[in-house]
Symmetry: none
Subunit: 232 residues, 4 copies
DNA sequence: CATGAATGAGGATTCATTCAT
DNA sequence: TATGAATGAATCCTCATTCAT
């Protein structure tokens, strides 16, 4: 069963934003709107994910940016505008990534296992995204609701999954009464928890959920649980 | 298989604080420190869970209280002190509740199913608690870490579960390589997600995760997934 | 020339308030109004002298007291009332002390030297008093002005000094045009500075004005300066 | 013997900040950071000197300013930050002034007399500075200790004095065993007292220490005392 | 496009003082 | 007398946002 290595799911946030000439904080005038925007979003993504929407500070975001506070307002209008842009970009990224995995040609069981492990690894490697989702839920999803249909577009994941499920049922290796959305929710839940509740769980159960050993064991347990769930 | 009804797991927060004579906002001098404290915690629990630590406002909490802002500082010293008290109380409550379920005398499979359904229902009925856990994780668990060992004490749930797992393995109805903590994590993850990620998931997948129908179906799917997971 | 040892001018504040049975903070009910009052004043004297009138906190004073905050208001009515009582008591004490020195029977030069050294040592040993005077001057003397004539009564010091000056002039060892009040002011100024400006002076000139060596040298310099000043 | 007139030592605080067009409280947006900063410091100097660090109110300072409370925090971060800036500026000013007096070319006795009278007059004319020093000592010099070495730099006064003393000893008009720092302390003490303890002393001795007559007489007495002190 | 200065509205916290018992 | 609980009025400080250049 092919494994999707962590390298494959390398941290997405900020990927593509490698700026060779950008020495630490020289705040040189870029005059490249796209880069400026991208830089702000990159910084803001991290800040919002670390401190939440209310906890993040525009001043601090501006400071870690290659540009100034004024530009944040110029491009995003308000703190919430910036937050929405961050949210949108994070969701856009995951959609893009999920679409690149080619699982269509693998046998259903293998495809499902790979999908689960990929999801697990992706979430592990993109804690910023996971935490943004938490933040958004704390805010009752009011900002994601404001994004256009396209922007909040149904994740590619569910389509992939739907395909796998169908092929699995058709070939008789999955049970017939599977609901793809329900299955997706279970997979999400199992993967999400590891990142989202890491701190409280680690504290209460005196384990380090972020350690490689725990992580590896957990990944297999999750995959195992999902595979057992779909078996006829 | 006995079902634990929602009634059984009625919302805990505020239980015991039913004060017959307390008309809305009469703000009379109580001179009953316990009641004052409890009232503040009750209100604050809700505010923090709704808006997060940074998003909640002491002024607003005070306003919804039978007492004044000054009293919050009198009893809890600071916003963070209040938050810690809220966290502690929420955890204390769940520990108490979990300990009351009598699953020891039921056959392992039935006990496990009941435990899963209870967990699912408790979390559903106590969204404040779930959201507080999210909030605390957004804050990197720094406040729960400050509570004493006793206060962050290992949940009763894990002990219950350990017992069930042992009995299940002994009687041959569970597979032998089960890890109670791992199992607990899976159950938590599956139950938690339904409350925690309700908003983003509902928005993206155009379903109402809070609806009774969805909820009931999901509860069974979760129980099913867990039972399949432990099967030999 | 007789020296008044530091022992002779032992710290006044709190003298007489030695309470044998008062173990650290047991807050036993005293039911002895005078002792309660004295205890409050003792504590308050120190607090006001350390932090000033605005800087001192009633809560903190109460806490260091054998009694409670309520008693402070019971006895002194307000923070300012307490401060005035503290001021009054401090001035009363110095008057009492100054009157006990018997310098009348000593030759003028020796008497003056002894008086200067005593003043120097008394101030050194009673920094609380000195600092209270500073505090009162920061507040434009408005509280001492509220004390009755008797309470702000001309210090005994000036009478002693007047006597010495007269005898010195009469016996020809002092010059004739000495003004006792002016002389008193000079003596006060020279002694006061050592305690009052200790911190800024020590910091700027990198010396430790509170050290025994500095102190001893300074005492002699002051005495020398005064004696040279009165010489014919 | 040349006298340094009061005019020469005109109140320093605020010198240079004479702004012809600044009508009382027009609060127009200046966009001149230096002026804004200077204006805040000028006002704060007076407030802190009048009421002490704890007694001064940021609100009140802001109100007397051409700008707003927010700007105080913009430039000085906190009440203590503002206080430190005030302290630093006051010390900077006196250093500057002291350095401008040309006493090097005058005969030692005359130079010393002039130095003493100048010190006396400067302190009299700059009560704000004197009172700030008192305030700082009430706070145990903790803020001056936080200024950099340069900022708390040894006063120019001591260098001047050292030169005079050396010349006086060399020319035989001063006694040989003079210690410049000790002499400086005596001069400071004598001058300081007149301003610092004005209120309590005036109240107790029923004189108006601030009156021109008292002041003039005292200036001469102080000069006299110092000159007698240095005589061989 | 870009920046430092400026701001009003709010937000956490503190304090002297009073009340109920 | 004595005490813990309670309070209103400040008081310090912060934040998202806007203006002048």
């Amino acid at each position: 069963m092919a494994r999707v290595s962590l390298k494959t799911v390398a941290k997405e946030a900020g990927a593509g934003s490698v700026r060779p000439a950008a020495k630490a904080k020289e705040k040189s005038r870029t005059n490249d709107p796209d880069r400026t925007r991208a830089n702000i979003i990159e910084v803001a993504t991290h800040e919002f994910s670390e401190k939440g929407l209310s906890g993040a500070r525009i001043d601090e975001i501006a400071e870690r940016t290659r540009t100034s506070k004024r530009m944040i307002y110029y491009y995003f209008e308000s703190k919430e505008g910036l937050y929405r842009a961050v949210l949108e970009e994070s969701y856009r990224r995951i959609r893009t990534i999920e679409a690149t995995l080619d699982l269509e040609n693998k046998p259903p069981l293998e495809a499902l296992a790979q999908h689960v492990r990929f999801t697990f690894d992706y979430q592990l490697a993109n804690t910023d995204f996971i935490r943004l989702v938490m933040v958004e839920n704390i805010h009752h999803g009011e900002h994601i609701a404001q994004l256009s249909q396209t922007q909040q577009a149904n994740m590619a994941a569910i389509d992939t999954l739907r395909g796998i499920v169908q092929r699995g049922i058709d070939s008789g290796v999955f049970r017939k009464d599977l609901n793809p959305i329900d299955l997706h929710m279970s997979i999400s839940a199992l993967c999400f928890f590891n990142v989202a509740n890491r701190y409280t769980f680690s504290t209460i159960f005196k384990v380090d959920m972020a350690s490689p050993a725990e992580t590896a064991a957990r990944r297999e347990s999750v995959a195992d649980m999902v595979l057992r769930f779909v078996a006829p």
